[in-house]
């Protein structure tokens, strides 16, 4: 059982938690024992069940501590299985959470939700403004992960989280794939799961960068022009992907752009293959200071293999897709990690919001 703090009232408790550095700077829901107990109960898991150890502070992530963060973030109890899955994902060794929390780069964990949990554990939005304000599930699930990273992992700016600036996705960074509107199989299916599985895929990512392309159905090279624009976005010479190389990257195709590619008989694999080809640069063009200076002949690849290019479909219909370059460092080079969401344990509590 976690230790308790005491306060005269909710406002005093809120201010005390701010003073202790336990918040993300925004108001939180005070995690009273009753609220936390009900969140734990809804998870269907034991309060003292250990999910793993979170770096860099090596805090033990129990279900109860995660429930504290979920309460603070304002999560509905329905979302608890997603929060638990996201916590498990970032604690997989391949995610390199300790190094990611400590780096000077701005990276933040992007949570991508696939499968039925998009509807039953949120909902988690995938349409217009899915990465912006107004979507409670997206806002609170990502925030719960961040509060775990602060209070269990110990990542605090300037002393253990050394991001020079960070980015707004460090408050929350969560969306679902628009599986119903996508011309491609769902992301989690292409990553080896069943269509009716619920899966979170987590990847350390920069803030989203917009990529403009105005589709032209009369142009037989329309898909290629779109891919060229996306390739500039994911690995332009200012990104770690182009300088450090070998890390993953995220491409979020809007419905129109996905249709441009599918109308040219492309799928996720062939899109990734082409982006892999288009992100080869001439060695002499390599910038970046710490690496640059060698005017060698020949090309180099920004990615180790096409599978590092994580492609999903989300957003409203229009001109803009999004790309998220990445940090490309850590022992596993900024890998994406997918974890099944365990919804079988979820316990519906009458009257529990």
């Amino acid at each position: 059982m976690s230790a308790y703090l005491e306060a005269a009232d909710e406002m005093s408790a809120l201010e005390h938690l701010h003073e202790l550095g336990c918040t993300d700077g925004l108001p939180i829901i005070v995690p009273t024992p009753d609220r936390v107990a009900r969140m734990v109960l809804a998870s269907g898991l034991e309060a003292d069940m250990v999910l793993g150890i979170m770096g860099p502070g090596n805090g033990t992530a129990t279900v109860e501590k995660v429930a504290v963060a979920a309460v603070m973030a304002g999560c509905l109890a329905d979302s608890m299985p997603l929060v638990v899955a996201a916590i498990k994902a970032v604690m997989e060794p391949e995610f390199d959470l300790t190094e990611m929390q400590a780096t000077t780069h701005c990276t933040a964990p992007l949570i991508i939700v696939n499968g039925p949990a998009r509807h039953t554990c949120g909902p988690i939005s995938s349409g217009f403004g899915a990465l912006g304000p107004g979507h409670r599930g997206n806002a609170t699930v990502g925030r719960a992960l961040r509060l775990c990273m602060i209070n269990i992992g110990g990542g605090r700016p300037g002393s253990s989280d050394m991001a020079l600036l960070g980015h707004p996705g460090k408050f929350t960074y969560c969306l679902a794939e628009d599986e119903e509107g996508s011309p491609f199989p769902p992301l989690h299916v292409d990553r080896g799961f069943q269509a009716d599985d619920s899966v979170v895929t987590v990847i350390g990512a920069e803030a989203p960068h917009s990529v403009i392309h105005s589709a032209n159905a009369d142009d037989p090279q329309d898909h290629e022009k779109l891919l060229q624009s996306l390739a500039v976005g994911v690995a332009n010479m200012a990104t770690n992907n182009a300088i450090l190389t070998g890390g993953s990257v995220v491409v979020v195709l809007n419905p129109e752009h996905a249709t441009v590619l599918s109308n040219s008989n492309m799928n996720r694999e062939t899109v990734a293959n082409r982006l892999f080809e288009l992100t080869h640069h001439a060695k002499r063009d390599r910038l970046g200071g710490m690496i640059g200076g060698a005017a060698n002949d020949g090309d180099y690849a920004c990615f180790t293999e096409p599978g590092q290019i994580v492609i999903l479909m989300a957003g409203g219909s229009g001109l803009y897709s999004m790309v998220m370059p990445s940090w490309c460092a850590g022992a596993h080079n900024n890998s994406a990690v997918s974890v099944m969401v365990d919804t079988d344990q979820f316990c519906e509590i009458p009257g529990l919001e």
Partner: protein, 72 residues
């Protein structure tokens, strides 16, 4: 800092070099890994990208202390 701690745990003398700006992070990592007293020496910040002559000056300033700490 983590490298210094990992090497020290192998029984090999180690001194972590930590710049002034990262000194609090070094303390945090040392404490969280259970070796708060792991040897470390403070460097000015920044070091990276400040040029060979400055790096030589920084090295000159700390090399004796590094050797002393490694030999202790």
């Amino acid at each position: 800092m983590r490298d210094g701690i990992s090497i020290a745990r192998l029984g090999i003398p180690a001194v972590a070099l930590v710049t002034e700006e990262f000194w609090p992070q070094g303390d945090f990592v040392a404490n969280s890994l259970g070796m708060p007293e792991v040897p470390r020496i403070q460097l000015p910040h920044p070091v990276a990208g400040t040029g060979d002559s400055n790096l030589a000056r920084v090295a000159q300033d700390v090399v004796a202390e590094i050797i002393e700490r490694l030999a202790a």
